[in-house]
């Protein structure tokens, strides 16, 4: 067991997934199966290897700093679950 059931609950929380107890048990097994494969890879000595951040050897892909028209406001809000006064509306967020 690499990850405990509590670890899985925490990962689910971070991803905002609501899981039943059965699902947690099942997924704990699945994730640990997966991680065992990585544990195998971990056995390799990679001390002399630079970490790979990107797999394709392409660098410095830029765009020029030019402003272009944005979407019309009705399109911006078209996929919003809720909108009010030209704004996205979400359940109240208490800041203080």
């Amino acid at each position: 067991m690499i990850l405990s059931r509590e670890d899985v609950s925490q990962v689910a929380f971070l991803a905002r997934l609501e899981l039943t107890d059965e699902e947690k048990d099942k997924l704990t097994g699945h994730i640990n199966n997966l991680l065992q494969h990585f544990a195998k890879l971990q056995e390799l000595d990679t001390d002399a290897v630079e970490p790979t951040s990107h797999v394709i050897p392409v660098e410095n892909v830029f765009r020029e700093d030019k402003a272009r028209p944005s979407l019309p406001p009705q399109d911006v809000l078209a996929n919003a679950p809720e909108s009010q006064d030209d704004c996205f509306a979400v359940p109240r967020i208490v800041e203080t």
Partner: protein
């Protein structure tokens, strides 16, 4: 009683003055009707892909160099994952770990005559978040216009490496921000507006017993929208922490919000879980690679920075260090000064007028130097009038205020308001005689050797002439007239 010393870290966010956003072509300009500056990329719609704004990268390199940083040859972007509706993607593109664009720099500050080099750990590039609007009812509103605007983050290093310093007082923290702002506005990457939030600072503050090496528990401060708020907020927080510690209490690691009206900090609801951002390299963007020669070219292309300009003002124009420091805090101020000196050559009087009356009026009216109606030639023309004896230094103060308020020329104001200095003896003698007649006791005092009392008679004469009399002339005539009464 246990004594404590403050350790202050500064996290500063600066919006970059690009035309478009960080990863898309929406305008990056401040303001706009809600959600009118959004597109599939900055809204995080499926299938959209970000592309790096080259200007934003150049700006951060420029800033990092101006802050004495080294440029990381291979710099990459990361995803910072969190669910909070200020960004629609579910993550912020930022730079994490040891690959920010700039590292290991410093900013020089002078507080009460002591100079410190404040260590900077990192300068990195990320995207700004949208604005949450708190409205009546059970909903919060979001405006994503600001979401995706290029944002530079500059973080100090505590403890500092050998040879560099850390911030240890509210005054130093404020000065650090003043100098940082000066540098960023000089090189033109940020507009320095604390009130509008295009330059934001979040200090973290802790106290440790004097003699202890480990830092105490820190709190983070938010909502400091002016230099005054930075000063007051940090001072308040240091006092609050000291009180807690002296009573044997413990400081809680939390974010506290500064309330400028109440003049106090209050805890923001602490997060239920410590944030786990699960950073990983951003797969949608290519790494940045900086060629050493290109970096050198950028370094050479930097404009004169505030500290260099300050030294030049002291060495070439002979003004005191204190004046030079204040005059170089903002580029428009420094340019006004330099232009005026070119026109008048008398650096010290230009500096005196700027440090005194100009700064006072700017502060009192809440005007930025660049919006002011006063131009360098306004000031130098007025200085000429003083030099020629047309107006006295005292009257000049009135003229200056009038020029500042209306943008009219000194000569015009002098003529219109009848402020010309009285240099004609025949005009002054009757007034002086009247002053002497009205103050026989003072006259006796002066004649009896109490020379200090002469100042009173000068004052009376100035009063009757509404400050228009030439002071040296008044002095001379008073002495002559007094002698004739002996």
């Amino acid at each position: 009683m246990q004594e404590y010393e403050p350790i202050i870290g500064m996290e500063v966010h600066a919006e970059l003055l690009t035309e478009s956003k960080m990863f898309c072509g929406c305008t990056a300009e401040f303001g706009g009707e809600p959600n009118t500056r959004c597109c599939p990329v900055c809204l995080g719609l499926p299938g959209s892909l970000p592309v790096i704004n080259v200007k934003a990268v150049q700006y951060v390199v420029k800033a990092a160099l101006a802050l004495n940083c080294s440029i990381t040859p291979n710099s990459i972007f990361h995803r910072k994952n969190y669910f909070y509706p200020d960004l629609p993607k579910g993550y912020q593109i930022s730079q994490y770990g040891d690959t920010p664009i700039g590292q290991h720099g410093w900013v020089q500050i002078t507080v009460n005559g002591a100079t410190k080099k404040i260590a900077i750990r990192r300068v990195h590039l990320e995207e700004d978040t949208g604005k949450l609007l708190h409205v009546e009812g059970d909903r919060s509103h979001i405006d994503y216009n600001r979401g995706g605007v290029p944002l530079m983050e500059i973080v100090t290093q505590n403890p500092p490496p050998p040879g560099l310093d850390q911030i240890q007082s509210a005054e130093e923290a404020k000065e650090y921000l003043v100098r940082l702002r000066a540098i960023l506005t000089y090189i033109g990457v940020n507009d320095g507006k604390l009130e509008e939030g295009s330059l934001r600072c979040e200090p973290n503050i802790s106290l440790r017993p004097v003699g202890q090496i480990e830092f105490g528990v820190k709190t983070e401060l938010k909502n400091l929208n002016s230099f005054r708020a930075v000063l007051r907020g940090i001072e308040y927080e240091l006092e609050r922490q000291e009180k807690v510690l002296l009573k044997g209490g413990k400081i809680v690691h939390e974010t506290r919000r500064w309330d400028d009206v109440r003049g106090a900090t209050a805890s923001m609801r602490s997060k239920e879980f410590e944030q786990e951002y699960r950073y990983f390299p951003e797969p949608d963007l290519t790494p940045l690679r900086f060629d050493a020669q290109w970096v050198e070219e950028q370094r050479k292309a930097l404009p004169e920075l505030p500290d260099q300009r300050k030294r030049r003002f002291i060495e070439e124009l002979g003004i005191p260090e204190y004046d030079a420091e204040i005059l170089t805090d903002s580029r428009p101020m420094a340019e006004f000064f330099e232009e005026a000196v070119k026109l008048s050559a008398d650096a010290k009087s230009v500096s005196n007028w700027m440090m005194g009356d100009l700064l006072r009026l700017l502060n009192a009216t809440g005007t930025e130097m660049e919006q002011s109606k006063l131009t360098p030639s306004h000031l130098t023309e007025m200085l000429n009038l003083i030099g020629k004896g047309t107006i006295s230094g005292k009257i000049a103060k009135t003229v200056f205020e009038e020029m500042f308020g209306t943008g009219r020329r000194a000569s015009e104001i002098v003529e219109k308001l009848g402020l010309t200095q009285i240099t004609d003896e025949s005009e002054l003698i009757p007034i002086i005689n009247q002053v002497l007649d009205e103050n026989p006791r003072i006259v006796q005092d002066v004649l009896g050797g109490k020379d200090k009392s002469l100042a009173f008679l000068v004052g009376q004469t100035m009063r009757y002439t509404k400050g228009r009399a030439n002071p040296p002339l008044v002095n001379r005539l008073l002495r002559e007239r007094l002698e004739s009464r002996r």
